[in-house]
């Protein structure tokens, strides 16, 4: 028992770096997902017919495939086929980000469509261009409304990030497995790994809830909790 615990403490530094890699992976993917998600949403809601068609296919593709298949497809097939030589971490960020964009775009779309159409018409009638109206009238409101749904993206990405193990990204789970093959203590180390993930999960959720409270405007959007 004592030996098992020392297996954890001896490798604590190495595993903590893995936590850093995991969080970086999640953070970057959330960012890519956010930016691409907004672009996809705007394409779907305000874009021409071909943009809607494209977003539909995109969302169908990224939501229909398992994470692990997407990672294999991009890492072993698509990127090498296109001549791109990204490291595993880069591939994981891109794949998780693009996948998250598909989910996030549907959260934002729900929020935009829950705004009354009169807002756009009113903005246009005041002389704003369509783009101005989207940027200063529609997006500020809909992003606030989509925050509760968006907050779900963090735990989803966190748990999905562990799948990057299969292409060898040195995140928490990969490092845990490496330490296990050195020390031969699978139970205690995998349990520690699980508990760290759970702490990251609920710790992050608490921070998000705090931010949610800070950004909330009293009386606005409290009844619009679910946008997905």
């Amino acid at each position: 028992m004592f030996e098992s615990i020392s297996a954890v403490t001896n490798s604590a530094g190495y595993l903590l770096e893995g936590v850093g890699v995991t969080l970086l992976l999640v953070g970057l993917s959330l960012l890519i997902g956010f930016v691409c998600g907004i672009i996809l949403t705007l394409g779907q809601v305000y874009g021409p017919r071909f943009a809607r068609w494209f977003v539909g296919i995109y969302v169908w593709f990224f939501r229909g495939l398992p994470n692990i298949v997407l990672l294999f497809l991009f890492y072993f097939a698509l990127f090498p086929f296109m001549g791109l030589d990204l490291p595993a971490f880069g591939v994981a960020v891109v794949v998780l980000g693009l996948r998250s964009a598909a989910y996030q775009s549907q959260i934002f779309r729900g929020a935009i469509q829950s705004l009354s159409e009169g807002q756009m018409l009113a903005a246009r009638s005041l002389g704003m261009t369509k783009w101005q109206a989207i940027r200063s009238i529609i997006l500020p409101q809909s992003l606030r409304l989509s925050l509760p749904g968006w907050a779900n993206e963090y735990p989803v990405l966190l748990t999905d990030s562990s799948v990057a193990y299969v292409i060898g990204v040195a995140e928490l789970l990969t490092r845990t497995s490496q330490v296990i093959s050195r020390t031969g203590e699978p139970m205690i180390l995998y349990l520690t790994c699980a508990i760290v993930f759970i702490l990251l999960n609920y710790g992050g959720m608490m921070i998000i809830q705090y931010v949610e409270k800070k950004v909330r405007i009293p009386g606005f959007g409290n009844n619009e909790a679910e946008c997905l």
Partner: protein, 255 residues
């Protein structure tokens, strides 16, 4: 003509990319017919087994946990909550590793298929219990009180009055989770179950046909998920009571 196309194909670019793609697909028809597709059909069968066995068990266990969380005594509630926190917070992959690599070190050997199955059931039930809990809590308290006043025990009231209504309301969430289950069943590959993804990975590494194998397995998943989505949509339409079964409270989205 063909030479010029091949020339553009050689120096890359988007046109070359698609040219390479079609070329490689046409020249590999025998490989698809004799090697890839048979392996994937076998894999599909294993995936189906995993999904079909997990879904009902995960649902029933989820229902049990949801009922204990809403109607149980204090320690039962607490235990059920701990269960949900652990199995929702822990990545499924880590859970599979604990079951497959961790448990044998304390003397419990499950084997790869069983560890995958147990892992999926635990994860699936934790998520389902959240949807079901939302649905149970959305049924008015008066219903249970009315059932009690008619002489039913609390158990009877929950089983015959509250749960049947709650199930209808939980249907969208639970069926969504079924779609997720199809997708995360691919994780069984890491504990050496040769399901769809595993079969593709083996063929890909053996014949060095990564693009073909993963493109094919991708098409398999897209077809299954699309069929399941359409089927579930039909089911939801069938069981929706106009004006009654709407969205449940805030529930998590899963994977």
């Amino acid at each position: 003509m063909t030479d010029s196309i091949n020339a553009t194909g050689a120096d890359g670019g988007l046109g070359g990319f698609f040219q390479n793609l079609t070329d490689s697909i046409i020249s590999q028809i025998p490989f698809w017919q004799d090697v890839l597709l048979p392996a994937l059909w076998d894999g599909l069968w294993v995936t189906m087994q995993l999904v079909v066995m997990t879904a009902p068990l995960g649902f029933l266990l989820g229902l049990l946990i949801a009922v204990s969380r809403v109607y149980g005594s204090a320690p039962v509630k607490w235990l059920a909550q701990l269960y949900v926190i652990f199995f929702r917070g822990c990545p499924l992959l880590v859970l599979l590793f604990i079951l497959y690599f961790g448990l044998p070190s304390v003397g419990i050997v499950l084997g790869s298929f069983m560890s995958a199955l147990v892992g999926f059931i635990l994860c699936n039930s934790a998520y389902n219990s959240e949807y079901l809990r939302g649905a149970l809590q959305s049924i008015k308290r008066g219903q249970l009180l009315a059932a009690r006043s008619l002489g039913m025990t609390k158990m009877q009231g929950v089983m015959y009055v509250v749960v049947p209504q709650a199930l209808r309301r939980a249907l969208p969430g639970v069926s969504n989770e079924f779609i997720y289950l199809i997708k995360y069943s691919s994780l069984a590959y890491v504990v050496a179950v040769i399901e769809l993804t595993g079969a593709a990975k083996i063929i890909a590494s053996k014949y060095f046909m990564y693009f073909e194998a993963f493109a094919a397995v991708g098409i398999f998943y897209l077809v299954i998920v699309t069929i399941a989505t359409i089927g579930i949509h039909r089911l939801e339409m069938k069981y929706a009571i106009p004006g009654v079964s709407g969205a449940v409270g805030k529930v998590s989205k899963g994977h």
